[in-house]
Point group: C2
């Protein structure tokens, strides 16, 4: 186990049983009578990730009363957490349609269409299953909230796609998009854990705000890591935002302050044909034509500000291991130990 | 107005007001605060098609009592019909991801990724909106039924993709897939019209069966039209099933009865490289190597049998213009006047 995984493990220790119950629901939900579908769902079930959104549901539910006893009556909570994870899984499957299409294009283009088709359908199936599972719950809260949030996620992603290469995007627009992409589902997970099935709407709104803030902070840090260009640290390819025309917060700051000649060079780094194939790609070019550091510092400061605001919201919760875990989790966002 | 459109218009005359109310809900549902999303939804709203599924909801609702008066209390029915249409619209948008990708590949491949991405997200947004709209209704019936049916549609489409080039597919498998693709949503439209919000489950099941049968018959006829190769009659490209490796009912029949040497030639027509570019494409080759007529006759007979069975179910409804319209509609399926 890596140090990252170990610290996450320690974090969710107070809710280990709840997470096990959630995983059982997930496993049942990823089954099918249709052999072709069953194979694909099995495959997807293996990429289960850190299940942070499910953990946020459970941590918030536990944090409500400060003790764990009350959860015994809440047999539906593992289902709620599983539904949140299913929604996330569906968004990942649909993200892969696009990323996968690109990667596979160089390898096995004959299969591209079939793969895309199945990925779209499989994502749709998982969404439907999540919604169907939510209709089996006693309260309509989960159905209502998650169908609302899914719209926000999609609209945010569409707005992002439409806003590519927009170097004059306002910080407000950037944050609205990043919140929709990442913060919205974090917020819903926290709100559902806090409220479901009939808790205080007021507390739910506070914890939703907590989730949206740490989600937005997470996305800002994620965008910074993409700009660092250190793939070993990132654990995935970097520079993808520059390649894809996504102008993220640090670049928006630098662009706004830059002289016209530097602005033109920044635009060229994103757009001139052939640069993607040069050593270090477009990212190296971008870092060459401007000083990105002030932008990164501003973005990091904004993320810290968001986490600080989120943490203050935790003081309304009774003290206990779950509240402590939520506090530590918000720390992780900035240090990016997950 | 074409004769086809005129006869459809006459058919839905008894529910013209209800359909107008449904369209109003649809228009509101296809709005967005996000300009990029709003543009795309506007665009989609223009392709509104014949809205047969929404009409099936309304015809069934009207047929329940034989009179129209009771609908006055059912202000939610136009919303139910709009939700069914939204689900259909989302499946169309996702179908276009795949078809569009192919077409655009030859024309504007630079935009392919962006277009695919947006089409996937837009379909997801419409699905979520449909589900969210269903959570605003007084009864959970629509949420439950449509999230169930959406799973069936997706699983059927995946099974179809996995079963391409399967010349030994059983008639049962073919019908299960075709029912999932087309019959399931027809059935749900009829069942919801018949039951919503608290009608008889027994009547609902009968009308669901009616919808599934005419939906399956419709799909069988649709597959036959693709085999005819007359694009003027079909109003769209034909031979696409042969190109895509979809072995439809008529071909399955012929293949099962054929000698091994003919079976090999049929497989070659679907699979040998280069045939797609020959005059008349793979379809011409298929029609050249076997006598398709007995297969088509069997498929047509099966469709007629299904419509006959569906019609018998209508006798349980009180007589009236809506029942008559449903009867005529089932006739249209075979004559394919819609």
């Amino acid at each position: 186990m890596s140090p990252k995984d170990a610290s996450l493990q320690a974090l969710v220790a107070p809710i280990a049983d709840d997470l096990a119950a959630m995983r059982e629901v997930l496993q049942t939900s990823l089954a099918s009578d249709v052999p072709a579908v069953s194979d694909m769902l099995d495959h997807i079930g293996r990429f289960r990730g850190k299940q942070l959104r499910g953990a946020l549901v459970m941590l918030n539910a536990n944090a409500r009363s400060g003790a764990k006893a009350r959860l015994a009556d809440q047999t539906e909570l593992p289902v709620v957490a599983a539904i949140v994870e299913l929604i996330h899984l569906a968004t990942l499957v649909h993200d892969d349609v696009l990323d996968g299409a690109d990667k596979r294009r160089r390898v096995a283009s004959v299969n591209r269409r079939w793969d895309n088709q199945v990925a779209v359908l499989l994502g749709d199936l998982i969404y439907s299953r999540a919604f169907h599972l939510s209709t089996t719950l006693r309260s309509p809260l989960v159905s209502q909230l998650l169908s609302q949030i899914t719209q926000e996620i999609c609209a945010g992603e569409i707005e992002q796609a439409a806003g590519r290469y927009d170097f004059n995007m306002s910080q407000e627009s950037y944050e609205r998009i990043a919140t929709a992409k990442t913060g919205a589902l974090y917020g819903a997970a926290c709100e559902l854990g806090s409220r479901y099935p009939d808790g205080s709407e007021f507390d739910g709104a506070a914890m939703r705000a907590f989730g949206r803030e740490i989600g937005l902070a997470f996305q800002i840090i994620d965008d910074l890591i993409d700009l660092e260009g250190d793939e070993a640290v990132a654990g995935k390819s970097t520079g993808t935002d520059v390649e894809d025309g996504k102008v993220t917060l640090a670049v928006l700051h630098v662009y706004r302050e830059a002289e016209a000649s530097v602005q033109a060079k920044i635009r060229d780094a994103y757009t001139l044909p052939g640069l993607a194939e040069s050593p270090g790609g477009r990212l190296a070019q971008l870092l060459d034509v401007c000083d990105i550091e002030p932008g990164k510092a501003k973005a990091r400061a904004r993320a810290a500000e968001l986490v600080d605001s989120a943490r203050k919201r935790l003081t309304r919760l009774p003290e206990g291991p779950a509240r402590k875990a939520l506090y530590t989790l918000s720390e992780f966002v900035l240090e990016r130990r997950w």
